[in-house]
Structure formats: structure tokens, C-alpha cells
Amino acid sequence: MTTRIDTRFAELKKEGRAAFVTYVMAGDPDPKTSLEIVKALSKSGADVIELGIPFTDPMADGPSIQAAGLRALKVGMTLKKTLDLVRDFRKSDNVTPLVLMGYYNPIYIYGVDKFLADAKSAGVDGLIIVDLPPEEDDELCIPALKAGLNFIRLATPTTDDKRLPAVLANTSGFVYYVSIAGITGAAAADANVVGDAVARIKRHTKLPICVGFGIRTPEAARAIAEKADGSVVGTALVDALKNSLDAEGRATAKTVNAVAELTAALAKGVKGAQQAAE
């Protein structure tokens, strides 16, 4: 099976550049604006879109993404509406890979088999589920692979060489390397340390390796893109969105543009990276 993710990374490899991966929360600040933001991401240079599934208890997220989830929940966002958003996005864009990222409980409650069927038909390409390590692969990872979706695993600084094969065994699409031990939006990643980690993981897999957590600026995105197959930016985009809202947390005329402009600047940073020869 080949997903839009596989196709996109194959194209980027030919172009000889790293991917720019963006993250926003589905339904933030409202479902309609959120759809416009997702469309703007791909138009402004995002190569892969990660869409957060709102959850009340996001244990691996910092204050910015916690708040984004709560804004979405407050206006009634659900997993079902998140899939509706993907379906609407696919009406105008059938090539940009889209990955849902979140926590297991909403999916478990939706029903795993029904969720996988609905996600696939809506146009989702992959899943990143933070609280499903390889020890719980039977829950969602194996069924997702069977349903034709990529299951993208997080590797972290605490994932040592002994553990890496287990982490990579059922991973597909790409590997998401979490650059720091910590939560989203925390300390910045050191590009050289990241470079060593990426090289270490590359000894165990041929999959592309994208790096996220702690990347906020075009310069940082570029520095990481020189060491890895992709830079992931989430919190900085969520912050740009939040700063465009009115006092009640509602979208303004500036909201979509605020995200689009930062996306374009970050994309330029990533595209200016000189990739190390392989």
C-alpha cells in the first residue's frame, strides 16, 4: 500500500529537500476557521499536515496546545467533526498528506474499527497516537496498518538502541523523533544533538525521520532540516493563531492569515536547508 505520505516523501527525496510538517488543532478556534487554516497550510508550503484531535487531558502537551484543545472542545469539536473537517479539506486538496495526532481515548470510545474505516474514507493518511507505545500495538497500530493507514511512531531521547527495533517494527510513513525529553512547546532542540540522534535512528530504518518539539522559528526549522528528513512545527503556529483571536477567543479577520504567513516563512526556512549527502 502507498499512502499520500509515502508519495510525498518519495517526491521530496527526488527534489533533495526536507519536508515541512505543520501541526494545528482541529476545530481551533472554530470548525469553519479551522478548515480555512488547514487549506492555507498546504497553500503556504506545508508538505505534511498534522491535525490534532482535541482531548481534555493531553498529558504530553504544553500550555499552548492544551489551550488550543480546550478552545476547540468549547465550541463543540469532536472526533467525528474532526473527520468531517478532513473530508471537507479533501474536496479541494487530494495530495497533501494528512495525519491525525492525539490521544487514544476518543478513538477507543468511537470504536477502533469504525474509526479506521471512517478515517480512511475521509482521506486521513496516518495516525500519531501519543499514549500508544509498541507494548500496546494490538490496540490500534496493527488494525490501522491493516486498514491501509500509516502508524507513525514517536522515538525519543530515551529510546535507546536496544529499544529502537521494537519502536520501529510496526512504524510506517515516517518516524517522528521527539527532539527533547519533554512536552510540546518546551525547550528548543539543539540541532547537533538532533543530528546525532537522527543518524543513530537511520542505522535502524530506511523510513524518513522528521523532528519535532521545540522548533519555533524559520532559522531553527532550517537547522533541523539540514539534519533530518523533515522539521515539525506546532506550538509556534498555534501561538500565532491564538494571538490573532479577539478577547473572547473568537476568530478575527486576521486569524487565517496569521497562520499562513508564519507557515510561509517557516517553509522558506526549511526549503533553504542544505541537505547532507546520503
Partner: protein, 404 residues
């Protein structure tokens, strides 16, 4: 639900941490290597007689164990039925059963070379126990506590600070125990290299539900021996309150394979089961949160709902996974008591026995008030008096004065 009865109710969990469908290890990859290390360290410690001997020394001389099994004569007379015994966990050093588990985990942390301890706390009893043992062993201690709980449990906040701990009020979400646990997990992910997470209840990722249960089982094991000495036989029933369920599991577990013993867990029904409450089994269904699959309060989309209880220690929208399993296999009966019932029990025990209980075990006493009169006079009922009420005196005083 139709689930085959197991040969033993005490053989769980399996090697992946499952009690039936409950339990598991639903955590971020960053934490997974440490959780596997913890499991290894715990297995090694269990097999090491020196570990047990050292722990027994502290349990006797520092905690003050064994805790008495006390015949509550006036409460028994007042209710006119079963003979009621109180397992006096409130007499432990730090004032609750929490210290049994914290001692075990701190000794594990020392074996693993971790110098920084974090904990979540609701009522502050687990936080106080953790701060106490960190002071005793010279370890850094950070306690996460919901901002709402910081307000309603001030005496314990002051105690923790006096013991040298840093108390972090958590402002996210509902600002109670669930959010304190989220924040503790965020700290742990960030400081995993030097930090040990001392979980206060029989929940979280495997192996926590098991190791907390094992450290708390001293409650039930002592009860068994003491009842044999006093009455020459097993008790007929056990009653304990349940938030996450550690005091209940500690009392229940040694008796699970004694079929003559009826077992009752009491959840917090808050304002009532049709309104805001914290009774996960009565009002919830299986879901995944904080590292395990268990009964949770949530909406149709799987979003976790706010719990409510007058008792900060029970104000949590989940329950330990082994309790969920014991519910489904039918070994334990799960009941619930409202805020008002707990307040009435709090006052009754204070006046009849001269023992001011914490609001948490007041929920258990409330159900004893219903169960005991329906039992014969030779029925032996044990209730776990898991904590003392000093911490609740200001809050209950305000409520009672307001009512007058």
C-alpha cells in the same frame, strides 16, 4: 456482564499488566523505558530479603505499624446489627494509609538511584506522606496539587511546605486531582533522567497498580491476623472508600479468595448519581486515561468529565484497573455515598467513638450505617478508617456553620 470466574482473584495482572481488559501501559514513548526499568527494579526488590527487612523496620518504628483493629462498641450499639471493627490506618505516621505505599516506592527510588521525587495529590494525604519520606531520606520533593484542592486542604499544604516539599498549584483543566496527575506526568516526561514518579493510588501504567497494591496489602494481611487473634475467625464483610482505590485494594486483596467474605467498595456520589459525582463504576464506562484502561467518567466523544466530591481525595473521574476487573467479575460490590451522607457519617463517628475520620473514609462509614443494621449481631464487619479528619476540620466546620 458474562465473564468466567477465575480460579483465583489474586493472580493478576498478566505480564503486560492486564487485569482482564483493564490496566496496560498507555504512556508516551519517553516514559516507556523508565516504566520497564521500574518493573525490573520492583521484581528484583521483591525477591530481595534485605529490601523487605529494611521496609519492615521502617514500618514498625517510623510508621508505627501494626495499626490497631479496634472494636467500635458504641457505633455497633447505635446501629444495632453487625459487630463493627475499625482498621485504624489513621493512626499511622502522617495520618493515613498513604505512607505504606510511599515508603515502598521511596525505597525503590533509592535502589534506582533517583534523587528527585514527584507526586500528585488530591486531599494532600499522599503529598504529605511523600514529603515526609523525602525529608527522612534527604530527597528533593515536588508535589502537584489542583488549585481547588490547595484551597480546600490548606492544612496539608502547610504541612508539605514545612517538610521541605515544593507544592505546585495546578491551574489547568478542572484544577483537581486529575489535572494534578496530568501535570505530574508532564514533569516526569521532562525530567525522566533523574526523577521518580511516586503515584499515590492503584492506578497509572503497569507496574504501578500492582506495586501500590502490594505495598498496601499490609492492611488486609494485618487485619486477617488480628481478627484471628480477637475473634478466632475471618471477618464476614469488608468496607472501604474508593477514589483511585488504594486503601480499599490494600484491605481487600488478601481476602479475595476467601469466598465467605463479602466485600464492599464505596465510591463518592457527590451531589447524587444523576448530578455531579465521582463514582466511576456507577456512572462511567471503560476508557483509557493516565496510563491505564479502566472505568472513567466521560462524554459520548470520550472527553473526560469533571468529577465532584466533597472529599478532595475521592474527586477523580477514574478508578484503579483492578477494581474495574473485580467489578466485572462480580467479586466486589461497588456502592456509593453522597456528600451529605459522608458529612452525617463524619459527625456520627466523631460523636460516638471520639474519632474524627477524614471525609474519604466517612463515605465508607456512611455505607456501614446502611449495611450493619441489616446484619446479625455475630456478623463481623471491618471498615478501613484510612485517614484522620484533621485536614477536613476547617472545611467541614464552614459547611456546618453555614447550614445552621
Amino acid at each position: 456482564m458474562n465473564i468466567a470466574k477465575p480460579n483465583s482473584y489474586r493472580s493478576g495482572p498478566d505480564e503486560r499488566g492486564h487485569f482482564g481488559i483493564f490496566g496496560g501501559r498507555f504512556v508516551a514513548e519517553t516514559l516507556m523505558p523508565l516504566i520497564l526499568d521500574l518493573e525490573k527494579a520492583y521484581t528484583a526488590a521483591k525477591a530481595d530479603p534485605a529490601f523487605q527487612a529494611e521496609m519492615n523496620g521502617y514500618l514498625k518504628n517510623y510508621v508505627g505499624r501494626p495499626s490497631p483493629l479496634y472494636f467500635a462498641e458504641r457505633l455497633t450499639e447505635h446501629l444495632g446489627g453487625a459487630k463493627i471493627y475499625l482498621k485504624r490506618e489513621e493512626l499511622n505516621h502522617t495520618g493515613s494509609h498513604k505512607v505504606n505505599n510511599v515508603l515502598g516506592q521511596i525505597m525503590l527510588a533509592r535502589r534506582m538511584g533517583k534523587k528527585r521525587i514527584i507526586a500528585e495529590t488530591g486531599a494532600g494525604q499522599h503529598g504529605v506522606a511523600t514529603a515526609t519520606l523525602c525529608a527522612r531520606f534527604g530527597l528533593e520533593c515536588v508535589v502537584y496539587m489542583g488549585a481547588v484542592d490547595v484551597e480546600r486542604q490548606q492544612p496539608n499544604v502547610i504541612r508539605m511546605e514545612m517538610l521541605g516539599a515544593t507544592v505546585v498549584p495546578v491551574q489547568s483543566g478542572t484544577r483537581t486531582l486529575k489535572d494534578a496527575m496530568n501535570e505530574a506526568l508532564r514533569d516526569w516526561v521532562t525530567n525522566v533522567h533523574n526523577t521518580f514518579y511516586c503515584i499515590g493510588t492503584v492506578a497509572g501504567p503497569h507496574p504501578y497498580p500492582t506495586l501500590v497494591r502490594d505495598f498496601q496489602s499490609i492492611i488486609g494481611n494485618e487485619t486477617k491476623t488480628q481478627m484471628q487473634e480477637i475473634e478466632g475467625r475471618l471477618p464476614d464483610s469488608l468496607v472501604a472508600c474508593i477514589g483511585g482505590g488504594s486503601n480499599a485494594m490494600g484491605l481487600f486483596h488478601p481476602f479475595l479468595d476467601d469466598p465467605s467474605v463479602e466485600i464492599f467498595g464505596v465510591e463518592a456520589a457527590g451531589h447524587g448519581l444523576t448530578q455531579l459525582h465521582a463514582a466511576s463504576i456507577a456512572g462511567g464506562r471503560p476508557g483509557v486515561l493516565h496510563g491505564n484502561r479502566t472505568y472513567l467518567l466521560m462524554d459520548a466523544d470520550g472527553q473526560i468529565q469533571d468529577a465532584h466530591s466533597i472529599s478532595a481525595g475521592l474527586d477523580y473521574p477514574g478508578i484503579g484497573p483492578e477494581h474495574s476487573w473485580l467489578h466485572e467479575v462480580g467479586r466486589v460490590n461497588y456502592l456509593s455515598a453522597t456528600d451529605d451522607e459522608a458529612l452525617a457519617a463524619f459527625q456520627l463517628l466523631s460523636k460516638l467513638e471520639g474519632i474524627i475520620p477524614a471525609l474519604e473514609p466517612a463515605h465508607a462509614i456512611a455505607k456501614v450505617m446502611e449495611l450493619a443494621p441489616k446484619r446479625p449481631k455475630d456478623h463481623l464487619m471491618v471498615v478501613n478508617l484510612s485517614g484522620r479528619g484533621d485536614k477536613d476540620v476547617p472545611q467541614v466546620g464552614d459547611i456546618l456553620r453555614g447550614k445552621k
